[in-house]
Subunit: 330 residues, 2 copies
């Protein structure tokens, strides 16, 4: 239905990018107004049927709306400070829905040490639609971008890949190995889809040691493509090195590997770490209590990321989960 | 349909307010991160059928989404700096719609000297839904709030009141004196409803001279109530002193007066100016080329604003236009 994502960006939105918007090639913009800190701002909108299911609990919808933004800030090396909320609700959502929604926000505000800065609630024909702009602080001139990586940099990933897409599959009753797992594991996947765990604790390590970074929201492969392209590199990922959730081992299952690697809803961090920074980054991540794994390397060239399972190169055509019609993110 | 605006704020959203959010009693929040400037952030969402009509031109929809936010910044004494955009579009909106929408933004970015900082576009079942967070700078410690006014302060209004509601009435074919006016005047009202003129140029004068300020978006009377209540005052407005659009003179028409004074969509500024600042404020407004008129006074007490037409006290029950189900604004 219309041209692809990039041409829409190029034609309509890139001409609008202002100072500090990095021409819309990054996950967050920067306002250089403070002497010691850069103000980092990111915005994400989520809607029923696209980012969450209509009958998901309102508190997890609220939490997800906030956390997808905090994940962007973390990837930029910024600690969260505040956020604005715009909420479109339809008449069938009652007071109970709103109360539970606000409860989810309150819980996450306490957890992440941030406050609501302003907002707006309106009536819409079909809702809910939730838009959050999150504002964070990165140490002056140390904000991490998608660009900045170089061939030879190691690619590090936080956490595990695939829990979110497994949770969505379970909610949608899509068959897969997740259906064979004990119910506690299944519930954990569903919880993870509904309420991702943004890697806020990793922000300082990224600001200190990463050359480039992106949060993995649309699938590891597609997001790695984006980081590599912005850094004018290609990339190589070894599936054996990627941590997956216990019980979902794609080592001998190519289809499963592709599903987990392109499913999205991970909200982990993929970072390009220069060789000389690897020891420092690993130590800082450990001190922050965030597991990280070296899953590949930035390589010369401009080809799409090569994903190796053993000595086989995986053939991946659909590289990202597309949230809705198109997306452009700063 | 549920409890009124204030109880929803009190119950669900006020507990969420963080530092710099002024407990959600203001039009914009402040981030005190810069030595010479305060970062001022405001968010507004607009949707078809609520803030604009579904067949309004996309460029004016974009302009309105941006301008309602710039109007909030101006009222806080802040010059606009940047904004984030979250856009929910439905499948029937084609590329032409998007192009024209972006064109409207581009035009306003040039006009107001601001840049897009980031954003997100998603697919929604029924759109468009547009959420903008605008970020501005006010001189350090000179941000103007709704609170801060005192009994005895003069109430000043920029521009004229009623053009927006007349434009909406014309679009909806609601009978009224606007229907008798020449077509150029009618078109101007419609244009004004679709594309308000935020008083960005008045921001510096407000930062220097106003004790309190609010932008008039929901109707002069209701917004004056809000400023007065936040300032722990009452207020008196004399209708004879309020500038109305040429051709709409409510001096002898109480019904028309009430319609114009409570209709909303004015995006003018109402400010409380201490007596000793009146000369300075008038000079600064003149230098900024913004017409201002003294329309009343803050008075002691906590009653609703008294609106006097001659020596008659107008009986106004519906004091604001309610945009959708409920609103809360910082």
């Amino acid at each position: 239905l219309g041209p692809d994502e990039l041409s829409i960006i190029d034609r309509y939105f890139r001409p609008l990018a202002g100072e500090g918007a990095f021409r819309l090639f990054d996950d967050a913009g920067r306002l250089g107004v403070s002497p010691d800190w850069d103000v980092v701002v990111t915005a994400d909108m989520i809607a029923a049927g696209v980012h969450f299911l209509p009958d998901d609990p309102p508190d997890t919808i609220a939490g997800k709306a906030l956390r997808v933004n905090l994940s962007d800030l973390a990837a930029k090396g910024a600690r969260p400070l505040a956020y604005t909320l715009s909420l479109g609700v339809s008449s069938e959502l009652g007071e109970r829905w709103l109360a539970n929604f606000a409860e989810g926000l309150h819980r996450d505000q306490d957890r992440f040490g941030i406050g609501l800065l302003g907002g707006d609630t309106i009536s819409v024909a079909q809702g809910p639609v939730i838009s959050i702009t999150a504002i964070g602080l990165a140490p002056k001139d140390k904000m991490v971008h998608r660009f900045g990586g170089s061939a030879g940099d190691a690619l590090y990933l936080s956490g595990v890949i695939g829990a979110g897409v497994a949770g969505l599959a379970l909610l949608k009753r899509t068959p897969g190995p997740w259906g064979e797992l004990p119910s506690e594991r299944q519930e954990e996947f569903v919880r993870r889809f509904r309420l991702p765990e943004p890697r806020v604790a990793l922000a300082a390590a990224l600001a200190d040691f990463a050359a480039a970074s992106i949060d993995v929201s649309d699938g590891l492969v597609g997001d790695c493509d984006k980081l590599a392209a912005a850094s004018r590199c290609s990339a190589e990922i070894r599936v054996e090195a990627v941590p997956f959730p216990a019980g979902l081992d794609p080592a001998h299952d190519e289809t499963l590997a592709i599903r987990l690697l392109t499913g999205g809803d991970d909200y982990e961090i993929l970072a390009a770490i220069p060789r000389e920074n690897e020891v420092g980054f690993r130590r800082a991540a450990q001190a922050a209590n965030v597991p990280v794994a070296r899953i590949g390397t930035l390589t010369p060239g401009s080809a799409a990321t090569e994903v190796l399972l053993g000595d086989r190169l995986l053939d991946i055509s659909r590289r990202s989960y597309v949230h809705g019609r198109f997306e452009w993110t700063v």
